[in-house]
């Protein structure tokens, strides 16, 4: 029951967003929802620590049981509510295999993005190195190239094949975050097309981060990330931006 579920979340955070997308897809609107602020440190508040000793968002409880790990929550919701809403795990074993793998590949993608976008937040001043910054950018570039290739192999337009699956639930918020951080659409046309095609899907549109709606301007942190097939420049923008602190 949606009423037995409570989600504490932060806007823009891909792990939070993916649970919200899953809840919408399974027709579980009506869950208890509270938006918190990373900037104000509310992810370390007593309210969060009570259900998530890691002091992280999302903090999600189902009937009193904490299920804070977002990918775990998505699997749980599809499992338990299999017969309602949209079917998020395909029957075809081949597509299922791709789906499972892509879901767990979200983790290296997020890690590699975070170490570029939040390098100064994650690495204390005395430990920072230009060599590391350079390597992290190259690593992220290689990772993004892999995802461009993945999207080339699934002409259905979704990550696992012909239908929207848990892989898209898990990954769309990460890909949206990349573009929010200024990833160049011209250099990553497949990712851009994916982003564009899915942003109006009801479950995604309804749960679009409110802070992004208020301030639609993208940042330029990832503007210079190049693919080896790069062509064309991307516009430079110098506006001050809202930053969603990555948990």
């Amino acid at each position: 029951m949606a009423k037995d579920m409570t989600l504490l979340w932060g806007p823009g955070s891909p792990p939070c967003w993916r649970i919200m997308v899953a809840l919408e897809e399974k027709g579980l609107q009506g869950y208890n929802s509270k938006m918190l602020s990373f900037e104000k440190g509310e992810h370390k508040s007593a309210e969060v620590m009570k259900v998530n000793p890691r002091g992280q968002l999302p903090s999600f409880t189902v009937g009193g049981t904490p299920l804070n790990e977002s990918i775990g929550a998505c699997f749980y919701l599809e499992d338990v509510y299999k017969s309602q809403g949209n079917k998020l795990i395909p029957d075809c074993p081949k597509e299922k295999a791709v789906m499972y793998q892509r879901i767990f590949e979200a983790m290296p993608l997020m890690d590699k993005m975070a170490i570029v976008v939040y390098y100064d937040y994650k690495v204390p001043e005395g430990e920072r190195h230009d060599s590391a910054v350079k390597r992290n950018k190259e690593t992220l570039t290689a990772e993004l190239k892999l995802w461009e290739e993945y999207l080339q192999k699934t002409p259905g337009g979704f990550l696992a094949g012909k239908t929207f699956t848990l892989a898209d639930v898990v990954l769309f918020p990460v890909i949206a975050y990349l573009f929010r951080m200024g990833l160049c659409e011209k250099r990553y046309p497949k990712l851009a097309a994916y982003h564009s095609a899915l942003k109006d899907r009801p479950s995604i549109k309804t749960t679009w981060p409110p802070t992004w709606k208020e301030n639609p301007q993208t940042q330029d942190t990832l503007k210079e990330i190049v693919s080896t097939e790069s062509s064309g420049e991307c516009g430079f923008s110098r506006n001050r931006h809202y930053i969603a602190v990555f948990p």
Binding site: P53, R54, V62, G63, T65, P66, L67, N68, E69, I71, G72, A73, F75, Y76, D79, V80, I89, P93, K94, K96, A97, Y100, Q101, I103, F104, E105, M107, P108, P124, G126, E127, H129, S131, A132, R135, L146
Partner: protein, 225 residues
């Protein structure tokens, strides 16, 4: 069934071990497999890259279906072979929620273990700092204390989410890894109990790593934790 499966693996790798435990639990013995050497860089060989462009182990194929990423492989196998072998996902929603939670937390535990034990493997010489080493150790100690608390009520047949489940498949190899690298049994009694209860489970015993890849310090990185 098993004969159409191929696993490329490395010894002492918790992710590889998880897949092997699952194959045993689902009665899929007889799968093709090949032991490769991390030290010789065989995880970056063409043979691996053809299945896993990331050049990582485990690399797993079932017929035409490739499923890399150990947790993905384990979930795929449990899903495809639900009706044979051990049931690895509990029925009750509360236990299932707990299982998914601990399973995913197990991946965080892996990262924190690697950050300490294989620090020199991941961080180039010019970028290493004692401050980072110490911070990684503290983060791992905090993480392990959390797992101690999760296993307060561990007993025979009652593990991370009740009966043996995918949570244990994912996490047990990490715990064995930690003890192999010197974690104190005295300071982590619940983890030690968990380890003792499960080390002789058939699927675990039969797939026990033939050897472990030493860290730059050998095998006692965690003795002071």
């Amino acid at each position: 069934m098993a004969k159409s499966m191929n696993l490329l693996w490395g010894s002492g790798s918790p992710p590889c071990w998880r897949v092997m435990i699952t194959l045993e639990e689902k009665k899929l013995q007889g799968y093709k497999h090949k032991l490769l050497s991390f030290e010789k860089g065989e995880h970056k060989s063409q043979e691996v890259l053809e299945i896993n462009p990331r050049g990582q182990l485990p690399a797993f194929r079932h017929g035409d279906n490739i499923v890399n990423e150990s947790a993905a492989t384990c979930l795929y196998l449990e899903n495809e072979f639900k009706s044979q072998g051990t049931k690895l996902i509990p029925d009750s929603p509360a236990e299932r929620a707990l299982m998914y939670q601990r399973m995913m937390e197990g991946l965080t535990l892996t990262d924190k273990l690697n950050a300490v034990i294989y620090y020199e493997w991941f961080v180039p010489e010019g970028e290493r700092h004692n401050s980072a080493v110490n911070r990684n150790k503290e983060a791992l100690a905090t993480e392990l204390k959390l797992w101690e608390s999760y296993l307060q009520k561990v007993s025979a047949g009652s593990y991370l989410a009740g009966a043996f489940s995918l949570a244990d498949v994912i996490v047990f190899p990490n715990i064995a890894f930690a003890f192999r690298f010197g974690l104190s049994v005295g300071r982590y009694p619940n983890l030690a109990k968990y380890y003792r209860f499960l080390k002789d489970r058939a699927s675990i015993k039969s797939s026990w790593p033939p050897q472990w890849l030493p860290s730059a310090q050998g095998f006692d990185n965690l003795k002071d934790l």
